[in-house]
């Protein structure tokens, strides 16, 4: 043991002890640094336009791609649709996830808790694309829902390839994320606090509104941020359940990179998406605090 300690002292002398926290930060700094370098490259690409006679990007810098991205109705439409969807999906997912997480945390029945956990994790093991294709089978014109409706004489309904079906798919996909983010926050709220509120005359609703909900805020903020950003940048659900007419920004970026080979415009849209997402996250943090990201500290 003495020999080991001596060797360790040679490799990492005691006077370096203060550097240990920084050393532990190094992997994260490296990772973020790589992302920043990547963003710098994307930024450089976004300032170059495509020459369709050579399919090379221009040598000169220009803001033409940004002008195009901000002025063309196609990009305004998909941006508005993405933003709207991210807000709707976040609100509905949190509404559905909260009672689910609350029941899962508070139920005295171990069997029910296990059932809720299994129901939560099962879809987690199935990727987003497979889940989306599952909905095609269930909601299609010849799918299970329309088959059931036909038994009572209802003609097949078009349940797919529209905006509501994309939102539905996203909410179903996001629900486990939200529940998993909310559950620890709800677990951290002592049941005794609710009991104390009841003993002081508060009914369930008042206790929930004045005690549980404020204390669950960190979980709500964390879950909201995750759902908001994942929805804003989603590609698969609009592509599969949208029938080609409900594109989000990510689909428009894909088109530029892979369909029209215009990497400059694709990079521009990607940077604008990063900016929009960062602004939204910043706004949420400003309005509601850092949630679970604050690690127990106030804002």
């Amino acid at each position: 043991m003495d020999a080991l300690e001596a060797a360790a002292a040679v490799v990492w002398p005691a006077r370096f002890a203060a550097a240990v926290p920084y050393l532990m930060l190094a992997p994260a700094v490296l990772l973020v640094g790589l992302l920043v370098i990547g963003l710098a490259y994307i930024g450089d690409t976004s300032l170059r336009t495509l020459d369709t006679s050579t399919f090379l990007l221009s040598d000169d810098y220009t803001l033409a791609n940004y002008r195009r991205a901000l002025s063309e109705s196609l990009f305004r439409t998909v941006a508005a649709r993405s933003l709207q969807a991210s807000l709707i999906v976040t609100a509905v997912t949190l509404l559905l996830a909260f009672p689910y997480a609350y029941l899962m945390v508070r139920t005295p029945s171990a069997a029910l808790r296990k059932l809720l956990l299994i129901a939560l994790f099962l879809p987690f093991f199935i990727g987003q694309v497979v889940r989306a294709y599952g909905w095609l089978i269930i909601l299609g014109n010849q799918g299970m829902v329309n088959d059931a409706l036909s038994l009572v004489g209802v003609a097949p309904l078009r349940l797919l390839y529209n905006y509501p079906s994309v939102l539905f798919g996203l909410i179903q996909y996001m629900l486990p994320f939200a529940v998993l983010m909310l559950a620890p926050a709800l677990t951290a709220i002592p049941e005794e606090l609710e009991a104390a509120a009841h003993s002081l005359g508060a009914n369930w609703l008042r206790a929930f509104w004045h005690v549980v909900l404020p204390l669950a805020r960190p979980g709500l903020v964390g879950a909201g941020l995750v759902v908001l950003t994942l929805t804003l940048t989603d590609f698969a659900m609009p592509a599969i359940l949208g029938g080609g007419s409900q594109d989000f920004i990510a689909n428009a970026i894909y088109d530029q990179f892979f369909r029209t080979s215009d990497q400059g415009l694709g990079a521009t849209l990607a940077l604008l998406l990063v900016a929009a997402g960062s602004l939204l996250v910043g706004l949420v943090l400003y309005l509601f605090g850092a949630g679970t990201l604050a690690m127990g500290r106030r804002r």
């Binding site: 495509l50 369709t52 006679s53 050579t54 399919f55 090379l56 063309e72 109705s73 196609l74 439409t77 998909v78 649709r81 299609g140 014109n141 010849q142 078009r158 797919l160 390839y161 029938g243 080609g244 007419s245 409900q246 594109d247 088109d255 990179f257 892979f258 369909r259 029209t260 080979s261 215009d262 990497q263």
Partner: protein
């Protein structure tokens, strides 16, 4: 054939037909070079391909016989053509060995790669001399791509949905009963040019004035069409989601083979005719480049084309290939001067230069 740009894009149909007559019946399977003084054989060559019946046909007609003749294994990479393109471009730009040996690509996409200078010249392929003019990429020097067959974006339909007989015009899809029951490619490819005619415009005005096309597409948007890719069309027909679609005849034929009651027509306004081809990215080791060229050379033999294109149901570039029995006299399998009269072909150069704008305009209308 409508819309030819005779300055740079002319498809010499007469020559094509003369060639077909001249070479018809000549067996002409000749593996060139006889692999004499051949370089070292790689363990495998990688050919990017489309999946489903597309790759099955290529495997049966070209890849398996090539392996049997040469001992060089062929692996098919089913990465989408649009997605492999930036990978190949990046590899060539960075001086790396590209991820594939051969790209089976649309001529329009391949032309972009050729203009970017990432394609090997294939002018020295021995079997090129046995091909029709369709094999030659128009508007490009030499053979940076070899076109291997042509195809038509037909109007495919379910006969039950058209009890009065097959549709005669693209305008028939504007019938309210088809609301939500029709489909197009999600970038509108295949439909821009017929829409120009159906909207009252002229093909000669492409690309300068395509407003008639956009007006017609805007009308079609009111029908709430589904928008997708090749596999979607077959799936949608099979699941009863759609009654009609503008799609490559191969997809409609595949759905028919799978038991779906489906037929197709070339409407009065015409249908887009285009080509696919094979090309080799720059940056391969010499021996691998040699065998990649041999693969393409083999794909240009009558023997390979017969099996490959029987599977796809498409007309090839080697004279004497017989159409599949189910496609004899079919408008999607043009073999005569008459067949080409109602097909629209616009030069790859014009398409490449304007495609981004057309896709964007189509998407703008459909996403609005």
């Amino acid at each position: 054939m409508k819309g030819q740009k005779f300055d740079s894009t002319v498809v010499l149909r007469r020559t094509f037909l003369k060639g077909a007559a001249a070479f018809g019946g000549a067996a002409a399977l000749r593996v060139p070079h006889a692999f004499a003084q051949e370089p070292a054989k790689p363990a495998e060559i990688i050919v990017r391909a489309w999946g489903g019946s597309w790759v099955d046909s290529l495997k049966a007609g070209v890849s398996d016989p090539f392996t049997a003749k040469t001992g060089v294994a062929v692996r098919h990479d089913l990465t989408e053509d649009n997605e492999i393109q930036p990978k190949v471009w990046a590899a060539v730009a960075q001086g790396r060995v590209p991820p594939i040996h051969i790209n089976w690509d649309t001529t329009t996409n391949a032309t972009k790669s050729a203009l970017r200078g990432v394609t090997e010249d294939l002018s020295d392929l021995a079997n090129l001399k046995n091909t029709t003019d369709l094999a030659k990429p128009v508007g490009l020097d030499g053979y940076p791509i070899v076109n291997t067959y042509g195809y038509v974006y037909v109007l495919a339909f379910r006969p039950e949905a058209f009890p009065d007989g097959p549709p005669k015009s693209w305008k028939d899809l504007l019938d309210p009963k088809f609301k939500g029951r029709i489909a197009f490619y999600n970038d509108g490819i295949g439909f821009h040019f017929p829409a120009q005619v159906a909207g009252g415009g002229k093909l000669e005005d492409i690309p300068g004035n395509m407003q008639p096309a956009w007006d017609f597409i805007a009308k079609m948007k009111e029908q709430q069409p589904l928008l997708g890719e090749d596999p979607d069309f077959t799936a949608w027909f099979q699941r009863g989601e759609i009654d009609a679609a503008c799609t490559i005849s191969t997809n409609a034929r595949e759905a028919k083979k799978n038991g779906v009651n489906i037929d197709w027509v070339v409407p009065a306004e015409g249908a887009k005719f285009d080509t696919d081809g094979l090309w080799i990215p720059k940056g391969l080791p010499e021996n691998e480049l040699y065998w990649a060229k041999e693969y393409i050379n083999f794909a240009l033999t009558k023997e390979a084309q017969q099996v490959w294109l029987d599977g796809l149901g498409l007309p090839g570039v080697v004279p004497g290939v017989n159409p599949p029995a189910d496609l004899a006299d079919d408008p999607s399998y043009p073999t005569s001067e008459e067949d080409f009269k109602n097909l629209i072909r616009i030069s790859s150069k014009v398409q490449v230069e304007n495609e981004s704008e057309w896709f964007s305009k189509f998407k703008s209308i459909m996403q609005g």
